[in-house]
């Protein structure tokens, strides 16, 4: 198939695959799982024509390992999965973070734990995305709410991963993954595509983990004369293992600071509805679409409601949430889980604004009446 152009009716998972290809992804490794498998199918069909490679690995542990390997060989790489597979990826997600390997992991969330409701949507992997792998680490996760954003945010995920040398999680769900909507595909030439920084020093002077002024080390590829030694053991600038006192502290702090010193480049939120409101909804992903509808419903009942939609989930938009809480009478966090983002909202709630939960755990898009009930509760 040739690349679709202009306005197209498209499934979210297909949009994600095309976003990846347009971002320059040339390697996909994965293991099929509903509701993400169409991403693999498009990659299997399309990547060869771009000189790329698709491989179906024996499991998700192998899938994330393979994309990490291919990225170090110089190819933009990604994988896609859902809950059970995302669980299996956690070990090597940490490897990718620690060894600073740009790559994208798409998680089209479904209801868990275990097999749960395997074909139905949830947003219950928010904390797993943050803390699923062991040890201290930063992570970047962004959450699309439409088919258009499945395309746009996949490109953004690649750009962030290349800029910061970190795996980026595209945290979607079954609704955004498998809904068909019209999207506008831009001319690929008009896209802003970020590429990892390559070393500029001669090969004999190259230290693969010596950071640049922005704390990110320039990255050679396997096969370059610049030798790339990437280790999952505590390492110094040479990349070789190093157990001296202080090395671990220095490395972990740099990994954290390379992200947290540059939040302006990462944090993204959307404001919807009146500037001042009695109740502010905080939501993300597909649930935030329902929130937009609920803003109108509430208005009919005479309640002034607005929405703060989190586009970047991790790092958490602390400041934006804090400011919104300070300006509103009450807050309702609408999410398709038993309450995950709400704990982060409460963490930054320095104004003691009342915070309520609207929890959708029924294996479907959260119903407006669940959110309305929490709003009524909040204004009681």
């Amino acid at each position: 198939m040739s690349r679709p152009e202009g306005i197209q009716l498209m499934e979210g998972n297909h949009a994600c695959a095309w976003g990846a290809i347009d971002a320059g992804a040339r390697f996909y490794a994965g293991y099929p799982i509903t509701p993400s498998s169409e991403i693999a199918e498009v990659c299997a069909r399309e990547l060869p024509a771009y000189g790329g490679t698709y491989i179906q690995m024996e499991d998700e542990i192998g899938s994330i390992a393979a994309i990490i390997g291919a990225s170090l060989s110089g190819k933009k790489s990604f994988t896609a999965t859902s809950g059970p597979g995302f669980s299996l990826m956690q070990e090597n997600l940490g490897v990718g973070i620690y060894q600073e390997v740009p790559c994208v992991v798409v998680n089209i969330q479904r209801v868990g734990p275990a097999t749960g409701l395997a074909t139905q949507p949830a947003q219950a992997d928010v904390m797993q995305a943050r803390w699923g792998t062991h040890g201290d680490h930063p992570i970047i996760a962004i959450s699309p709410a439409s088919v258009q954003e499945m395309y746009d945010f996949t490109i953004r995920a690649f750009n962030l991963s290349e800029r910061f040398r970190i795996p980026v999680i595209l945290l979607g769900d079954q609704v955004v993954g498998q809904t068909y909507e019209n999207i506008a595909l831009p001319d690929p030439g008009s896209l802003e595509i970020v590429e990892r920084k390559k070393p500029t020093v001669p090969p004999e002077e190259y230290l693969p983990y010596q950071p640049d002024e922005n704390l990110v080390p320039p990255m050679a590829a396997y096969g370059d004369k610049h030798i790339l030694h990437a280790s999952s053991t505590c390492h110094c600038e040479t990349g070789y293992s190093n157990f001296k006192y202080g090395t671990n502290r220095q490395l972990l702090n740099r990994l954290k600071n390379k992200i947290y010193n540059y939040l302006d480049e990462i944090i993204d939120v959307e404001y919807f509805g009146p500037e001042k409101a009695e109740v502010t909804l905080v939501s993300f992903g597909s649930a935030s679409r329902v929130c937009k509808y609920v803003v109108g419903l509430a208005e009919k009942e005479g309640i002034k409601v607005n929405l703060l939609r989190l586009i970047s989930i991790w790092p958490f938009p602390d400041r934006e949430v804090q400011e919104a809480l300070a300006k509103t009478g009450a807050c309702v966090v609408a999410e398709m889980n038993q309450g995950q983002v709400i704990n982060e909202v409460n963490r930054v709630n320095t104004t003691n604004t009342p915070v309520h939960l609207a929890s959708g755990i029924d294996g479907e898009l959260i119903r407006p009446e669940i959110i309305m009930a929490s709003i009524r509760e909040a204004v009681k």
Binding site: D59, Y222, A230
Partner: protein
């Protein structure tokens, strides 16, 4: 005339002393690999070693080639991506027996089935050296380890038999006692396309030897020397006797097409080294 390469080109001398115990065969195996690379005159930057986690998995600390040291059991999965990301590379996975056959067993059988162009060099010391000598999938039945104090109740994997059955193109077994042979097999495996396995029977005097082989590290080395047997002599043994020995030599050398060759044949555009613009 080009200067002949020496093992020192691949060996990181500043990293000495080796972390391995006195009497451990890992140093011999490392030398055999670096010697083989020098003989083949493959420049270090065209080689990537993907190491497992374990005593043998530390080998990358002493090498000057490109390296990836990832997670326990996953060396082949990382290596698969490394190879497909840049098919011009020589990708060598260095794994212990636990790495390759316990936690990484699934990756091993599928890498062999795909016949992906990777050389797997497995140090088989019959135990988990790094974690203190627990039993592994290659510990011989009834041998003692820290987690089989009265003898292991499970039969051992035949590493080479498994590799052959799953589809590896080249399979050879030698020991760290038979250094010249070991080096020859490693060189052959690196040169050949496809999934190629060299099993190096190795010593672990500290854990395996201490509990099972009476005597010192010299006795451990003798045990290694005697346990290996070439096919000509092995075939003459009766079935019960065969269990006491490990067949050594080049056990498989065939010409199955490797994964990428097949993939490129059926997807002709895929060979344009990632520069294609799509259709």
């Amino acid at each position: 005339m080009a200067v002949k390469l020496n093992y020192r080109e691949y060996f990181k001398e500043e990293a000495l002393p080796l972390m391995w115990c006195a009497g451990c065969g890992n140093g011999i195996l490392l030398r055999a690999i670096t010697d083989a690379l020098a003989d083949l005159e493959i420049p270090p930057h065209q080689v990537v070693v993907s190491t497992g986690i374990g005593c043998w998995g530390k080998a990358d600390d002493y090498m000057t080639t490109h390296a990836f040291h990832g997670s326990h059991g996953r060396a082949l999965a990382f290596a698969t991506g490394i190879k497909l990301g840049n098919p011009d590379l020589h990708v060598i996975a260095l794994m212990g027996d636990g790495d390759a056959l316990a936690i990484g067993g699934n990756h091993f059988i599928h890498a062999a089935r795909r016949n992906i162009d990777i050389t797997a060099i497995i140090s088989n010391n019959f135990t988990y050296g790094m974690t203190g000598g627990q039993y592994s999938p290659t510990t011989p039945l009834s041998y003692k380890t820290t987690t089989s104090p009265v003898g292991v109740a499970e039969p051992a994997f035949d590493v080479c038999g498994l590799a052959e059955e799953c589809g590896a193109n080249y399979v050879a077994r030698s020991t760290v006692y038979h250094v010249t042979q070991l080096k020859r097999f490693i060189a052959a495996a690196i040169q050949k396309k496809g999934f190629n396995v060299v099993e190096a029977i190795n010593t672990c005097p500290t854990h395996f030897g201490r509990r099972n082989i009476p005597g010192d590290t010299v006795e451990m080395m003798k045990y290694i020397k005697d346990i290996g047997m070439p096919r000509s002599r092995f075939e003459k043994l009766d079935e019960e006797e065969k269990n006491k020995y490990l067949l050594t030599g080049e056990l498989v050398n065939r010409e199955r097409p490797d994964f990428l060759s097949v993939y490129r044949e059926i997807n002709p555009a895929a060979s344009e080294s990632g520069r294609g613009e799509g259709k």
